[in-house]
């Protein structure tokens, strides 16, 4: 049983057994995340942990995201790649609940007060798993000149009418720095327009 399935058990009220299992699993999760973003970790072990990060799921999102601006460039790289692995794992066919949960966790990071480097990388990865429910969290960055590119990337990939609406609304408020970026996102959205219901 992976962490996401355990979390799902909680939501379904399946109770004590899941709680016990999660408590047992949490130290392992912490160890795996520490292997990815720890300072004194063997490189082979670090990137083996990155390779296997998919199963870490939502619980690992926040601690990994916090390292996206790490001083140590190798830790930064490992955190970014691990988040990509988590997003791609959650995005596999038939794993809708996992995909949504990971997108929720990334959207929570976007709602927090992080620096630009963190938010940029989170915007890039959330693009691959977000849906209509995450549009507002992403669109909040459309009028930030430093982050509008990344927000547009995520919204162009977003398969919802809400993403088009968010871009149009942001364009109405945009200044001379962000307006061209949003217009180009709308242009790129054209190819996906027929698929939007």
């Amino acid at each position: 049983m992976n962490l996401h399935e355990l979390a799902k058990c909680f939501r379904l009220g399946l109770g004590l057994a899941a709680a016990v299992a999660l408590m047992a699993a949490a130290p392992a999760l912490a160890a795996d995340v520490e292997t990815i973003i720890g300072e004194d970790v063997d490189g082979e072990a670090r990137f083996e942990a990155v390779h296997n990060a998919g199963e870490l799921g939502t619980e690992a999102v926040a601690p990994l995201a916090a390292e996206l601006n790490a001083e140590n460039t190798l830790i930064r790289r490992a955190a970014r790649e691990a988040l990509e692995v988590i997003v791609h794992h959650a995005g596999r066919p038939g794993a809708e609940d996992e995909r949504r949960a990971v997108a929720d966790a990334l959207a929570e990071v976007l709602a927090e007060d992080h620096d630009t480097a963190v938010q940029r990388e989170v915007l890039y990865v959330i693009g691959y798993c977000a849906d209509q429910r995450h549009v507002d969290a992403i669109a909040a960055f459309l009028n930030d000149p430093e982050l509008a590119d990344a927000a547009c990337f995520a919204l162009v990939l977003n398969p919802s009418r809400a993403s088009v609406r968010a871009l149009v609304n942001a364009f109405a408020e945009a200044d001379e720095d962000t307006a061209p970026i949003i217009v180009h996102a709308l242009a790129q959205k054209a190819n996906a327009a027929l698929d939007i219901e």
Binding site: Y128, D149, A187, Q188, N191
Partner: protein
């Protein structure tokens, strides 16, 4: 919200975007050079490889302009001219020049498709380095644009012009192609390709870009990232976002040969799987080791790519082993101590039988492009073939990045039942840099 039709959306989008993206001359369509005319060339990207192309081609046809986002590259390339040559930092200024007939694109890989599309829309013929595109969608746009504009596009997988009288005449790919197409191996069911892995990069700190480099233009459609000397110039190959590793570099050559030899240029795989190993240190993120399997149908064919130390022959520099129902053939792709090209004497001297298949013999990759610009015929590595080869590289990397096999529809050119895979295969470009 009213649902927009594709046509109205595109029309409105194009009207809104064009003034922001395109210089006035880009949509013009100058006349093509006649059979006896010189072809006036522009060179976009004049780093190491681009300068090499420039030096060779300008001996045959005049070069009117060079372009690079790095003024050091421009200054260095300009020293190869006896007289002043026009220099630009923005490729759109080259495309604006009505006197330029054709452009040679040797920029970092993330730029290839966008610059090729814009060049063809400006009425230029195009020689573009491999790989053709970052994504499947970009590659499709290049193919569509080449057809719509009637442009002559040649991609720089020069193996299709070997032996090249102006290059390495010992590499007998043309003979190997004829041998295989005439059934010399029987039915080819499996091709094993291999190459050394990607290197481990340095661990250098981010820093402000140097004054001679326009970093934002260097990135172009790629995700924004802080400047780091590990990323460029030549090392861009080892980042997934720019070069995509040796699979998209040398792999494009080996896979170009495979599709050409087997006459499957219009085909694509139905299934792709990949496993790999991440670099344990440094900033490069392209996999050290990578194993990819592409499965084709009708007829069945399996192509594999092996990118680690366990090679099936002494050709460590990159090669392919073609397995037919009758026999196998080793075709080395680059020079190493075991030799280059095709060692088999029967194949090296092969002549097709009367009435047999005899594929067009290119007079040289550059010369073939020049000839086709004048004749308006199709060169040996046109957009459609270049796209199929590049698609193999893109799909191999995507299967590794996603961590799962892909079912692929080679006609629709979409992953089947995997929308996240399709996002990766069609991901948008940054800001105005999209097609």
């Amino acid at each position: 919200m009213e649902k927009l039709s594709r046509r109205s959306f595109l029309k409105a989008g194009a009207a809104a975007v064009a003034p922001l993206v395109l210089p006035s001359g880009v949509l013009a369509r100058p006349g093509q050079p006649g059979a006896n005319d010189k072809i006036v060339l522009g060179f976009i990207g004049v780093g190491g490889w681009g300068t090499g192309l420039m030096r060779q081609m300008k001996e045959v046809h005049p070069a009117a302009a060079i372009c690079d986002v790095d003024t050091d590259h421009l200054a260095s390339a300009a020293t190869w001219f006896d007289e002043d040559v026009d220099q630009y930092g923005d490729y759109r200024r080259v495309l604006d020049r009505a006197d330029i007939d054709a452009v040679v694109i040797a920029t970092p890989d993330q730029w290839h498709a966008i610059q090729a599309v814009h060049a063809m829309e400006a009425g230029k013929d195009v020689y573009v380095e491999k790989p053709l595109s970052r994504t499947i969608a970009e590659g499709q746009a290049v193919v569509e644009t080449a057809e719509r504009c009637g442009a002559v596009l040649q991609m720089g997988t020069q193996g299709r012009s070997q032996p090249d009288p102006t290059g390495r005449s010992d590499v007998r790919f043309h003979q190997a192609c004829n041998f295989i197409r005439n059934g010399g191996l029987g039915q080819v069911t499996r091709v094993e390709c291999w190459h050394p892995g990607n290197p481990i990069g340095p661990d250098t700190p981010d820093e402000p870009p140097p004054s001679h480099l326009d970093w934002d233009m260097w990135l172009g459609p790629a995700r924004w990232a802080p400047y780091n000397s590990a990323r460029c110039p030549g090392s861009f190959r080892f980042f997934m976002e720019y070069g995509g590793g040796v699979l998209r570099d040398f792999g494009a050559h080996v896979l170009s040969n495979a599709l050409w030899f087997l006459d499957r240029d219009g085909d694509g795989p139905v299934r792709v799987s990949a496993t790999g190993k991440r670099p344990p240190s440094g900033l490069y993120d392209a996999p050290l080791e990578l194993d990819v399997t592409w499965e084709f149908e009708d007829p069945d064919l399996t192509i594999t790519w092996r990118q680690h130390g366990d090679f099936p022959s002494d050709h460590w520099g990159g090669a392919a082993l073609y397995h037919g129902t009758d026999r196998s053939l080793l075709v080395a792709g680059s020079a190493d101590e075991a030799g280059a090209g095709v060692a088999d004497e029967e194949v090296r001297e092969y002549e097709p039988p009367p009435g047999g298949v005899n594929v067009f013999r290119s007079p040289g990759h550059h010369q073939n492009w020049f000839d086709c610009i004048k004749s308006r015929e199709t060169p040996v590595m046109p957009a459609a073939s270049a796209h199929r080869v590049t698609s193999l590289c893109i799909l191999g990397n995507a299967a590794w990045q996603l961590g799962r096999p892909l079912e692929f529809d080679p006609v629709a050119q979409r992953a089947v039942g995997d929308e996240q895979a399709n996002m990766l295969l069609t991901r948008p470009g940054r800001g105005p840099w999209h097609v």
